[in-house]
Structures are given as structure tokens and as C-alpha cells.
Amino acid sequence: MLLRIAVRNVARGWRRSLIVLLSIGVGLSGCLFVVAWSKGLVHQMADNAVKIQLAHMAVQAPGYRDNPDVRYNLPDYDAIAKTARSQAGVHASPRLRGEGLVQTARKSVLAVMIGVRPGDEAEVSVVPSSIVEGSFLRTGSGARRLPPVVIGVKMAGEMRAEIGDKLVLHVPGDAGLGAFRVSGLYRTASSEFDGVAVFLRLRDAQRLFGVGDAATEVAIVLDDEKTVDAVQARLQEALGSGVEVLTWRERARRLASMLDLMGDLSWIFYATVFVAMAFGIANTMLMAVYERLREFGVMRSLGLSRARLMMLIALESAALTLAGTGIGLGTGFALVGWLGKRGIDLSMFSDALESYGIGTRVFLHAGWEDALTPLALALVTGVVAAVWPGVRAIRMRPAEALRRA
């Protein structure tokens, strides 16, 4: 019944309640928008990194993670890929990845060379489907029959290279020199990646780096990302301790930390909003308490204890705050849901966004935790905001409260 009284009192002072509800609603939906925006940016960055180069996980030789040198390689990469593919919903692509120099007649740049099998790579990466000109590692014919390479649009621009142009790749070591012809240009959401990554066929890369029939990693993508941990454990067990099965979070720790940080930062956003709201709610509750001192005096005369009166005021404050939170979350999630599907076109900032691997359309991202956090904070804020008005109410003797007009 105390809850019923609390809720009805919120409705009774509807004008005042409405102002508080709207301020909580607008503040919270705005906060949710900012959080979803920030999370959307970081999630997109991580999602693109996974789709472009990281994959959900990778099998590597021990030592490669700390020192990514082609010496740390996997001679039995085909068997590893086969073991991975034997699991349902798992796609695998062997890669040989090393650093070197790309050179044209006019210019040379540092690059990451990635040797792949085009068919396998198409199952784990978006690069083969991101070709904007030419083809992905298809060999030319006749006099132009040099091994194909695919470079990013950004690198092509920097080197003034076009389809059909010859490139020379240099890598450290004895063998490391080879002539290639540009067979395709790709463009991904990450201009940084487009500026440094050069794709070539796995066997050409093996020849260039002089590692024999080996790869530095087997990239693995799952149909269901949620099974990452389970698949990692199964694969590690199946492949033994001679290799490392690493998730993208383990390989790209900084990116994973950014994602985690966004979760922590959202707490700070919400807490800031609710601290500001607490003063408004306390002020409203204080007014409500002063208006109803006589009513509280009656209740106390009838035998309502101080603790229960405090609880009544706290319930009222919490009901008001939770209702405002409901409005804020409802509005906020509707907005975030809509913009999460539609995205926000930020092509005017494309250079900056693509350099972070985000893409020009930002899709807002919010999860269930973005509802739970404000709900928990609302409850705490509602109760805390009631303390001051509540103390004012319970400190008064019933007779003194009854004398109030």
C-alpha cells in the first residue's frame, strides 16, 4: 500500500512530476545517445578490424605474437586449417604475413605483405569483396604474366600505381625480391590498412619470404561470434601446445581495451547525469514534502513509524526517478535502435574516420547493460535524493506537522 500511495502521489502532483520526468527522460536519452555513439564508433572500429584483418581468432606459432617475424611459422598450416574447418560454422584461411618494401619506378613505401589463397581468404575477410578496380589476385596473361598483387586505393594513390603496373616487393633476408603486377585495388573502411597492406598469393609470398611451404597464421572466422571462447578452447585442445590459438582480443589488446573502456566510461556518463538529476529530484521531493507535512503528521499520528515514513518518501522519489528512467530509456533506445540500423552519414569526416578504421557511416550501438546501469543508478539516485526531504519530514513531531497549513 505504501507503494500505491507513493505512485499515486507522483500522479497527484502531475505538473511537477512531469517536469522531473521530462528532465530525467531528456537527460537520460541524451546520455544514452552519447554512450551508444561512442560505443558504436569503437565497436565499428573493432568489427572492421576483425572483418578486414584480425578475424575472430588465429592459430600462430609460439613466439609470433611477441615478435611477428616469418621465422615463427606453421609448416603444417593445411592440417591446422582442416582441423578448424572440421568444426561446424568455422572458416579458415592460411596467411603468410611479413613486412617489407613496395617499390615502383617513382616511389617506395613500407608495407605489410599478406600471402593468401584467394578462395579461402574470401571466407574470412572482406578484402576480396572490397575490390573497387580489377580483380583479387587473378593472374594476367601474355607478356603481362607476372604474379598478381592487390593493393589498397590509398597506397595506389601514394605510389601513383594503377592496374597493370609493375611493383617490386623487397623483404628482409637473402631471397627477398620479386616483381609483381597490380591486379586489383581494394578499399576498406580503414584507410590506414589500405595504405600498408599488400595482398599476394600464398605460394608467391612463401617464395618471396623464403620460408618454404609455411604460413604465419591460420585466420579463423566463426558464423556465430559468441562461440569464440568455446571454439578457441576446442581448437587449442585439438591442436596441442605446439601452436597458439588466439582470439582477436588477445591479438589486438589495445583495441579490446578500448572496447572495455567504453563500458567503464558509460558508467561515468550515466553517473554524471544522475548526480545532476539527484539535485532536481531532491528539490522536487522537498517541495512535495513541505506541501504535505500535515498529511505526514496525520500518518505519524496514526502510528506510521519514522522508518516507514522515510520509506514512503524514498518510494515516491524512486517511483518518480524510475518512471523518468523508463521514459529516457524508451526514447533513447528507440532513437539508438533507429540510428543503429540506419546509421549516421559522416562522409564529411571520412578522412578522419577511415584513418581509425571506422567507416563513414556510424551505427549507434547499445546493449542490455546500457539499460541496467541507468536503472540501477536511478534506483540509487531516487533513494539518495529522498534522504534530505525525508529527514526533514521525520524530524518533525506529528503535532508540529499537523499545525502546518
Binding site: I5, E295, V298, M299, G303, L304, A307, R397, A399, L402
Partner: protein, 230 residues
């Protein structure tokens, strides 16, 4: 007095403002025995409501002792006084003071809730008392949908629903027309007769004083006279 349900012993009450101290009660002693139907009478400012509040434990004397059923309430904690009010006292106020967001039934239920009764039992008991007082057609009405007389009858129902041994009524007829006031007094007399509930009024309403079996006259915070009638 052996059968005193309420006792004020040398009670003094001062109200202090920044500049002035006003003595509302000056060394007042009074015994109220079980089953009385009594009135504290006197002009405005004579201290009758203050004395009623002291006896009802909703205010504390500056000096002196108040006892309910022999227990010194001035020595009790606020929580103990709350429990005592809940268990033994019922209140009726001049301006009804029903809880505006609750219906007639819920207003009566409120006291029963504080006594710890379950929802079903509360509802049944509240409706029973309201029907007994002739308010069966007002069960779902809120205070704003009732006349003053109806609200005061609901207030009486609320005061007696918890089966208190004492009902304290502060100017209960002040805002009522004659017919409604008479009807309400009849009702309270009936409660007094049938249930043995002790009624103590503060009033300057002649109709109340005519029916009271004891009239304690207060003047300037002191008892000027104390008359009992058969």
C-alpha cells in the same frame, strides 16, 4: 487513579519562537478513566488542543509526565510512542485529514496495514467498519468525492477500525453543519456505549459539550473547572 487510561501530571508546555516564549499549558494535571466520553473545552488559545496532543503522544511536554495505561510515554522513544499510538489510540481531526490519494476503504486500511494485517483481512475489516457506519456506498470514493460529513465519518471509521481503547478527537464537528454534527456525535456515543471506547474531545462546540459526560474547562493553559455529569 486506578482506572486511569490517560494521565497528565503537572504538564507544562512552552512554545518558543525567536523572541517570545508562550506557555500553552501551565502545570496541568488530568486523569481520564476508561469509558469516558469527555470534552476539553475552552476558548481558542486556552490549550485544549495542546493538552490533547500531549495525551495523544504526538507532542512532548516541556515538563511533567504523561501516562497511557500507566506507562510514562514521555520516557519512551519515538518508535515506542508510534507503536503505542498504533495499538491504543485513534485520532479524529478537525479538518478530517484523510489521505487524499486513497479511497475511503484504503484510508481505513492504512491503519490496519500499520498494524500488520494481511491484505485480505485489512480489506474485509475496513469494509465492515465502513458499512457499519453507514458508508457502504462510499467505499471506493476518494476524499475529494465526499462531503465534509462523509469524510469525517470515514475519519471516525479509520479511528476505530484498529480497535483502539482511546479515541482523541480535535474539534471533530467544527466544520460540519448541525445535522451532520449531531449524527456524528450519535455515532461516537454509540461506539462509546457498544465498544467501551474512551472518547476525549477538544471542542468549543456546544453540541459536543451537551453530550459529554465530563467537561474540563481550560483557560489560559490551566484547568479552570472539571465537571462530571451522570
Amino acid at each position: 487513579m486506578a482506572d486511569a487510561v490517560m494521565q497528565a501530571v503537572n504538564v507544562t508546555k512552552d512554545y518558543e519562537t525567536r523572541a517570545v516564549t508562550t506557555r500553552a499549558l501551565d502545570d496541568v494535571s488530568l486523569d481520564v478513566t476508561r469509558g469516558e466520553f469527555s470534552a476539553l473545552a475552552g476558548p481558542s488559545g486556552s490549550g485544549k488542543t495542546t493538552l490533547l496532543n500531549m495525551l495523544g503522544t504526538i507532542d512532548a511536554p516541556t515538563s511533567g509526565i504523561v501516562r497511557i495505561d500507566g506507562d510514562d510515554v514521555t520516557a519512551m522513544s519515538e518508535a515506542e510512542r508510534s507503536d503505542l499510538r498504533l495499538e491504543k489510540l485513534g485520532f479524529i481531526f478537525q479538518s478530517y485529514n484523510l489521505i487524499p490519494v486513497l479511497s475511503a476503504t484504503e484510508n481505513v486500511e492504512f491503519v490496519l496495514l500499520l498494524q500488520g494485517l494481511g491484505a485480505r483481512e485489512r480489506r474485509a475489516r475496513a469494509e465492515e467498519v465502513l458499512v457499519e457506519l453507514g458508508l457502504g456506498d462510499l467505499l471506493a470514493k476518494r476524499p475529494t468525492e465526499m462531503s465534509g460529513g462523509q469524510q469525517q465519518r470515514v475519519a471516525v471509521a479509520r479511528a476505530i477500525a484498529s480497535n483502539p481503547s482511546i479515541v482523541l478527537a480535535d474539534e471533530p464537528t467544527a466544520n460540519l453543519d448541525s445535522r451532520t454534527a449531531e449524527s456524528l456525535l450519535d455515532l461516537m456515543l454509540r461506539m462509546n456505549g457498544e465498544r467501551g471506547v474512551t472518547f476525549l474531545f477538544s471542542t468549543h462546540d456546544r453540541r459536543v459539550m451537551d453530550r459529554a459526560r465530563r467537561i474540563v474547562q481550560l483557560v489560559d493553559g490551566r484547568i479552570a473547572s472539571d465537571e462530571s455529569r451522570p
